[in-house]
């Protein structure tokens, strides 16, 4: 698939109005360029459901439809550009020295779409609401991150924490979106802020919305605080129930912004028009997860895990199972090219994990007492309905046969699968780590920190499903929060060493942010050269950045 270049330092994005359009390649840090408004953009992102027409940013299941379009965060943090920050509702912020309190200065002149001004009180209100109604505290700031106080004074808001809260900055600055106090402090909204539907949302974002179950129509917010923006006047967001029609509309050009997997993307989409492009940056790992608990005889042996890691041809899995659209992963656990800076490629190749090696695999398996003549039978659980996983596992199964491992896939309903995965009732599991963050730290912590695991039979829902326990890794991870930026890179690299040495999991492919775009009428798309935001429409608040950059070519 595509070769990614990564030039993190040189690129700009965000509010400084990128000049990058899909066709123009160079990025520059020259003066912001502005565009005329106009055009109707259609998003094609399979939802599987008609729109509920609810725009409660605290409703975790559908706030994608509100966040970014209507509600905005304080600061935008770009995962793809080494956590590059763009001030949004907060024009600036200041940590105290031990990083237990942060003060945001709220931007002047921001208006809610009903004309009321946005103030520091609104911001403080939003955070305090989360304390008051714990169900709205989606990122467990009060219960988990140690937030103790959110206070406004003048145009400033100070969040005070029990301890160093630097690692939570991504959540409270970037993921939390701010709601208007004058709306949320009265009526149904105040009574049930967590379940209130909020059918006619009042926000500060670039768009306002009109919703029918079949379609959401976002109209440019005339009183948006960034003058002249957004450039695209109308955004249509139809409810696609299934991939097929969503893909079809992309292929036909009816929709210009795609955010889902397209099989055979080349013939189906790219070849249909030279204006059709795709760039799906990887963000997380999909891994074969062995059960490390000693009760699982085979998979708790290093030899078996190494054999698996050596034998699997990740490139082939990527090519066949994922149609070449999810790149092969690294044994280091670092998603490349997104986090290239952290990746210790030398260590990987030194250990021989850079390419499949059947001989090494056989040798490793031998150490565990298995061989082609005494094959090892293993069952891998996966999720019913994930056909790409089924296909990937079929490839893996085929490869493992050659070294003496008979793999059986057990495709379970999501519920059964999760149940088994969390409770440790499996030998091997094919797992996509769900959560991440702007640096590899977030994902690696989930996979590896012993705080995230639980004994067999108890739920290890926090991400360490394989039950990896290593004090040194824990210490390293714990030290990350307070370390300096450079030290952080070093810490991550040390952790990679354990990934390679202990093979706690075997990353196979990298899950991506699905993105297809059409450059005929619209420019300003994020590209590999200018990755100013994660490009999928379902990613907030990144979607706002994209929306703020897009422009309608015929209007220019």
């Amino acid at each position: 698939s595509t070769k990614h270049t990564n030039d993190t330092s040189g690129s700009t994005g965000g509010t400084s109005a990128s000049s990058a359009s899909g066709s123009s390649s160079s990025s520059s840090s020259t003066a912001p360029k502005t565009y005329k408004q106009g055009g109707t953009l259609t998003i094609s992102n399979e939802q599987g459901q008609t729109w509920p027409c609810a725009f409660n940013p605290f409703n975790a299941s559908n706030n994608v439809e509100a966040n970014g379009f209507i509600y905005e965060p304080l600061i935008y943090i770009n995962t793809l550009q080494n956590a590059k920050e763009t001030p949004m509702l907060a024009s600036s912020y200041q940590w105290n020295t031990d990083k237990t309190a942060v003060t945001f200065t709220i931007r002047d002149g921001v208006k809610w779409s009903d004309g009321q001004p946005l103030t520091a009180d609104d911001v403080a209100f939003t955070f305090n609401l989360m304390k008051q109604a714990p169900a709205t505290d989606l990122y467990t700031l009060w219960s988990g991150a140690g937030l103790t106080e959110a206070k406004a004074s003048g145009n400033q808001v100070t969040l005070t924490f029990k301890q160093n809260a630097q690692v939570y900055f991504y959540q409270f600055a970037n993921l939390v979106t701010i709601v208007p106090q004058h709306i949320w402090s009265t009526g149904d909204a105040a009574a049930h802020p967590d379940t209130w539907a909020n059918a006619n949302p009042v926000g500060s974002g670039p768009y306002t919305v009109k919703c029918t179950p079949n379609n959401m129509e976002y109209k440019a917010n005339p009183s948006y605080w960034q003058p002249g923006k957004p450039y695209v006047t109308t955004v249509e967001y139809p409810a696609y129930l299934d991939n097929q029609p969503a893909n079809q509309d992309l292929a036909s050009g009816k929709a210009q912004w795609g955010s889902q997997f397209i099989t055979g993307i080349k013939s189906f989409y790219l070849n249909k028009s030279q204006d059709n492009h795709t760039w799906s940056p990887p963000v997380l790992n999909v891994a074969l997860v062995p059960n490390l608990d000693p009760s699982h005889k085979a998979t708790s042996q290093l030899g078996v895990r190494q054999a698996l890691a050596y034998a699997i041809d990740k490139a082939k899995v990527s090519a066949i199972g994922e149609d070449g659209q999810q790149p092969p992963a690294n044994q280091s656990g670092i998603v490349t090219p997104t986090f290239d800076k952290y990746n210790d490629a030398a260590a990987i190749s030194a250990a021989g994990f850079d390419k499949p090696d059947l001989d090494k695999a056989k040798a490793a398996l031998q150490t565990a007492g298995y061989s082609t003549s005494n094959p090892l039978n293993l069952t891998v659980i996966s999720v019913q309905g994930y056909t790409d996983w089924d296909a990937s596992l079929a490839v893996i199964k085929d490869e493992l046969k050659g070294i003496g491992i008979n793999l059986t896939e057990s495709s379970l309903t999501m519920q059964t699968y999760d149940d088994k995965l969390y409770k440790g009732d499996y030998d091997l599991a094919y797992v996509g780590q769900p959560a991440g963050g702007p640096t590899p730290y977030y994902e690696l912590r989930e996979w590896l920190h012993s705080a995230n695991t639980a004994p067999i039979g108890q739920s290890a829902s926090a991400g360490n499903f394989e039950r990896y326990q290593n004090k040194e890794v824990d210490t390293l991870l714990d030290s990350y929060a307070t370390a300096s930026a450079d030290d952080q890179v070093a810490i991550i690299k040390k952790i990679e060493g354990y990934m390679i040495k202990d093979v706690p999991i075997i990353p196979v492919t990298e899950s991506v942010d699905w993105f297809q775009y059409n450059t005929k009428d619209f420019g300003g798309w994020p590209t590999s050269d200018n990755p100013y935001a994660q490009p999928a429409a379902y990613n907030y608040p990144d979607n706002e950045q994209v929306l703020l950059n897009l422009f309608y070519k015929p209007a220019q």
């Binding site: 459901q49 299941s61 990122y139 988990g144 967590d194 539907a197 299934d242 309903t413 519920q415 959560a435």
Partner: protein
Amino acid sequence: MRYLLRRLGFFLLTLWAALTLNFFLPHFMPGSPINSLRAATRGKVPDAQLKQILASYGFKPDANVFSQYWDYLGNMLSGNFGVSTGGSSLGTPVSKMIGQSLPWTLGLVGITTVLAFILGSLVGTIAAWRRGGVVDSVLPSVFVVTSALPYFVVGLFLILFFTIDNTWLPGSFNYDNTIVPGLSPGFIGSVLQHALLPAATLLITSIGGWVLTMRNNMITTLAEDYIRMGRAKGLSDRKVMVNYAARNAFLPNLSGFAMSIGFVLTGAILVERIFNYPGLGYQLYNAVNSIDYPMMQALFLLFTIAVLGAILVCDLLTVWLDPRTRAKG
């Protein structure tokens, strides 16, 4: 009247049984809605928080099953279906979601089913009446074949032919998204256009059964003496066919029709899925996939009521059309 009372009794008992089944079936399913919610939030929200959220929406998996059951019965009877706990529709009132889909399913499936029944009965009547004609000699075979075709096979081929090989007709959705819903001719035209393929699928697969049963009933009825009597009286052919033969042959079909509503729902699920038609079938599919108990329960209830209601209506019709049932105990 006693007959009707007994039917009503049956109706209520079955309703209760279905309600109970509705309650227990999903509750014995493994897993919880939290998983689908996690997927919907793309892992950005911790599990503990997800649980908290679910609880705030009234989902209490740990409460006593029987007290839940009573609550449930009360809620169902008062039409309080609760809010969805499904992936991307968490917190949306179930009644609202059903309200959005119901008209589409009713319109598509309801109308087609009735249409198939009426058309099928008509064709069956004529085929049997013209016994031995060319039509009658090929009809049974043709309709045996169509009645055995799976919905998705027909749907697939229609899609292949009408939307992929040629882009003559839309193969998904209930109307063109760019049109604002309303009573405008454009919107209605779009709705009809979008309904065409799924309706054809349902029609093709379900009409055969009615043709065959009606034909068979007609043949049996035509052998009755009162048909000969009708002819002997010098009544016009049409009158004998309609008033004497079809009217009688139709009666046993009515109860069959009621029973078939259940199968029609099968069609609805598959067809709505194939054609991306946002109706109840699709909702059920989603609800099952995301372990959305409230939604599942409400849909189940709705389906059962639909079948029972159809049975009741057909009973009433039968009583109205057939004086003999009125006398029956």
